[in-house]
Symmetry: C2
Subunit: 223 residues, 2 copies
C-alpha cells in the first residue's frame, strides 16, 4: 500500500510558440514542473512521485535539478506520443495497491489543500476529479448553429485526478481513443462512475505565455 | 444612422463578497467601468455610449467621474432587476438605426481591435459574437453522470456583442426567460442565426477579487 503521483510532463511545447516546453519554463525563476512536484511532496512526503518526461528533455531536466538544487526524490519515466501513452507508461511502473494521482505538470498551483481533498475523496468514493464552475456564457458549434449550453451544469475539469491504482491500470488496458482527454474518461468508458470534487480557480493550466505571468501573480496573492 | 454601445453595469456586487460592485472597483487606480467606456470611445469617438447603472450607484458614479476627471460623454440609464431588463432599458433609449454593441462593464480589457472587428463583422453579417476556444477538459453534470463534452466545438462567449439596432430591439420584445444569458440568445430564440467571431483570451470578465489583479497584470504586458 502506498500513494503515488504521476506528473505528466511529456509535451514538447509546440503550442507555446517557444522552444522550451511549458513545464520547464521559469515561474519566478524556478521551472514549472518543480512546483508541481513540490506540492505533492508537501501533501505527503511519502508519496511516490513519478515524472513522465519526453526523452529529448531528460538531460535538460537533470541539469535543471542540479542548477536549482532540487532534491525531491522522483522516478523518471519516458513519455509517449500522446498523454494517454505517457500516463500508461507511468502506470506500468506501479505494482502496489493504493491511490494514484495523475497531474498535469503545467498546473503548478494546485494547492496542498486541493491535493489533500482529492486523496481524501478518493479514499471515500473511489475517485476524485476536481472541477470548477463556469462564470461565462458557453456555446457549442453544431454545424451552422452555435447552440447555447446550460452553464450551471458545466465544470471545467482540472487535475490532480485521483483513483485506485488497480482500477486505473485496468482502465488503461483499453486501447487509445481520441476522446480520452483526461483519466476520468477512461473510467467512464468502462462504466465506472466518477466523483466530482470542488477544484480551485487558482489551479490554472499554463497554456499561453501570459499564463506564466498570471501564475506568478497568483503565487504572490495566495495565502 | 449611428453606432451605439450599451455598457451594462447594473450589478450590485453580491458575488464579489464586497460592498463595491465590480464595475466600480479600482483597476490600477481607476474604476473598471471607465476602462470599458474608454475602449468604445477609442474605437470611434462618435459612438453613442449608454451606461446602464443601478439607481443606488448613480451618485457614486457621478462622484467617481469628477474625482477621476472622466469626461467621455455618456448617457446614464437606470438598470433593472436582471441583465435582460437592464439591456432592454438601454435599448429603449435608442431610436435611430445602425449598430449597437452590448458590453459587460466587467470586461474592461476588450481591445479596440476586438471592438473594431465586432462592428466590421456585424456590418458584413448582421451580428458579431466574440468567442474563444477552451483549452481544458469540460464536463456536464447530467443527473448522476458527469458527461464529457467535445471541447473542440465549445466557445466561451464574450462581449461586446454587436447587432443591428432594429433586430435587437425586436428580439427584446420577447418576454424574459432564464436562459437568456447573453444577447445572442434572444436572437436565436427568434430564429435569427448568430455570427461567431474570434474573441481575445485577455478580454477577461472581472468576477473574483483575483481577477482585478490579473487584469492589472494584463494591462502591463499588453501592447
Amino acid at each position: 500500500m502506498g500513494n503515488y503521483a504521476i506528473i505528466v510532463a511529456g509535451g514538447t511545447g509546440n503550442r507555446m510558440g517557444n522552444e522550451v516546453p511549458k513545464q520547464f519554463m521559469l515561474l519566478n525563476g524556478k521551472p514549472v514542473l518543480m512546483y508541481s512536484i513540490e506540492q505533492f511532496y508537501k501533501h505527503d512526503k511519502d508519496t511516490k512521485i513519478i515524472v513522465v518526461l519526453h526523452p529529448s528533455y531528460l538531460s535538460m531536466w537533470v541539469q535543471l535539478c542540479n542548477r536549482h538544487s532540487f532534491f525531491i526524490a522522483h522516478k523518471i519515466v519516458k513519455g509517449g506520443e500522446t498523454r494517454y501513452q505517457s500516463v500508461k507508461n507511468g502506470l506500468d511502473t506501479i505494482n502496489g495497491k493504493g491511490l494514484v494521482a495523475v497531474h498535469d505538470a503545467a498546473r503548478p498551483l494546485a494547492s496542498v489543500r486541493l491535493i489533500d481533498a482529492c486523496f481524501a475523496a478518493a479514499i471515500d468514493k473511489g475517485s476524485a476529479i476536481p472541477g470548477i464552475p463556469v462564470n461565462e456564457t458557453v456555446r457549442m458549434i453544431k454545424g451552422d448553429a452555435i447552440e447555447l449550453i446550460n452553464r450551471n451544469n458545466l465544470r471545467i475539469i482540472q487535475t490532480p485526478q485521483v483513483f485506485q491504482t488497480d482500477i486505473l491500470k485496468e482502465a488503461y488496458k483499453q486501447p487509445y481513443r481520441e476522446d480520452f482527454t483526461d483519466d476520468a474518461s477512461l473510467l467512464e468508458a468502462m462504466g465506472v462512475p466518477i466523483n466530482l470534487v470542488a477544484g480551485e480557480p487558482g489551479n490554472i493550466k499554463i497554456t499561453l505565455p501570459a499564463d506564466l505571468e498570471i501564475a506568478s501573480l497568483l503565487l504572490k496573492i495566495a495565502i
